[in-house]
Symmetry: C2
Amino acid sequence: MRILITGAGGMIGRKLTEALLSLDVIGGPHGGPIDHIDLVDVVASPIDDDRITGHVADLADGPILEDMAARDPDIVFHLAGVVSGEAEQDFGKGMRVNLDGSRRLFDALRDRPSVPRVVFTSSIAVFGAPFPPSISDDFHLTPLTSYGMQKAAAEMVLADYTRRGFFDGIGIRLPTITVRPGKPNAAASGFFSSIIREPLAGERVELPVSRDVRHTHASPRSAVGFLLHAAALDGEIVGPRRNLTMPGVSVTVGEQIEALVRAAGPDVADLIMDNPDPFVADIVAGWPQRFTTDRADQLGFTCETSFDEIVQAHIDDEQSRGADHVT
Amino acid sequence: MRILITGAGGMIGRKLTEALLSLDVIGGPHGGPIDHIDLVDVVASPIDDDRITGHVADLADGPILEDMAARDPDIVFHLAGVVSGEAEQDFGKGMRVNLDGSRRLFDALRDRPSVPRVVFTSSIAVFGAPFPPSISDDFHLTPLTSYGMQKAAAEMVLADYTRRGFFDGIGIRLPTITVRPGKPNAAASGFFSSIIREPLAGERVELPVSRDVRHTHASPRSAVGFLLHAAALDGEIVGPRRNLTMPGVSVTVGEQIEALVRAAGPDVADLIMDNPDPFVADIVAGWPQRFTTDRADQLGFTCETSFDEIVQAHIDDEQSRGADHVT
């Protein structure tokens, strides 16, 4: 069977590719032995394997999506997208890639002889404040960013195309992925990872928000696990509500730091310097803090159950790797 | 000030046009004396007035939307759409008109010197079963028709375009409009109106569902009232959640018939013949029964409070009119 991954060059895309190569076989109604994986991204994937064909292309340009659909993939992982900050700053680009690009891919997959599984990475950015204490599976979508709007609209299209039998879609709303490997970035959420990653590497780091800020996290390893589990799910069991909030670990920043100390000793906490930044604090105040993910839980999606496990996943997955793998 | 109405040739569009002509002035931050109304539809409006210009055009073709936006309307009523049954049968047409047509209109209104109020008629079809006993303002959108998906996706775009300041949008989710004037039609919901309209006109009518079926209704007069109220609302008070479920009267079919008897006497009920149709009953079983519309109520949207008032609105508005007005 054939797999297509869009956005394959990103952090999750690369980890997913590696996981698929190590699996060899994928289960479920769309699964089978993995014969071939097409990778599409604006940047080339560094992963080399004789089952892989890499395609460097922009989803918003040319016939790449139609070409990929014509290869009749059995499973499509649609990870490609313009990230939140860029979609907010460059509105046209976000619409072209995140909404129109997704729709073009979905349309290209419509008229194929097979009915592929399409796993779409949505985001908790489909939710917008004010929130209840915990966001349940039937809470409405009121995004407060253009990125969130694009993901929410694509979710609607995915569910209807699935209902009509055009393909067999599953949308998964990822929580914040922590600890992201690599260098600090400019994302407002970057500190959630850097306050763990940098001290573990012996580096000092600034904390721009109060230690009582609560947020929900899952490891990169769990994100890959969500994708693989979604790929193998039986759509009949899922039913018509195809967009699912993924589980995560809801902790305060203070609890993150306590887990870090348990993993690496008390001295490491001295590398974290409180330096409140009202701009970052304001953005973070609008984000969801906690989810109740009954549907995903019942469907067998799993992740870490404590932030200690998330810290350990980072140590296991990244500290043993070469520096060129963690950028 | 200028007004644009898309879908002006439909039942609600014509009643709205008449109401605007009788009002002369519209309130709120986008309001003022009504100088001109552009009407767009695939059918010509029968209404003639020197403040009106009619345009017969299909939203999915040609530059009609861009031409209309270039006239710099202060208030846009975007009522045009392919109805639920047709959007389900002709998927491409529904996407072109309901989703892409709405987006093209929204995009055309983006770069205007003024920031118009855009009132968009969404639908309770954005909701899909299973439902709680009453659907609250924060219940999620899980449409089970392509029509509902197209309305839900357009709602997302409308809210984000409003957040970005491209225009000042309000989406209103209309309940079933009862009593629809005119001839019976093929819509699965048609019996909700025909069991009132036909007996009042001395005609026999078949009832395809059980009398304990519950549904939510508002009169055509209330629908026009919702549109006018939405046109005049202060967006600052509405806040970022721009799509609102409108109030209605939740009654069983049996309660509808009791109200009919109170208005027209016991003999009229003998014209209603129970003739269960499992096909219609199945469709209706998937529809929402009741809504809790706190936000719309707080923002001042009002409608009838009993089905007796809905029957009386029909008698007042339609029985006094010539037959050529009620088709």
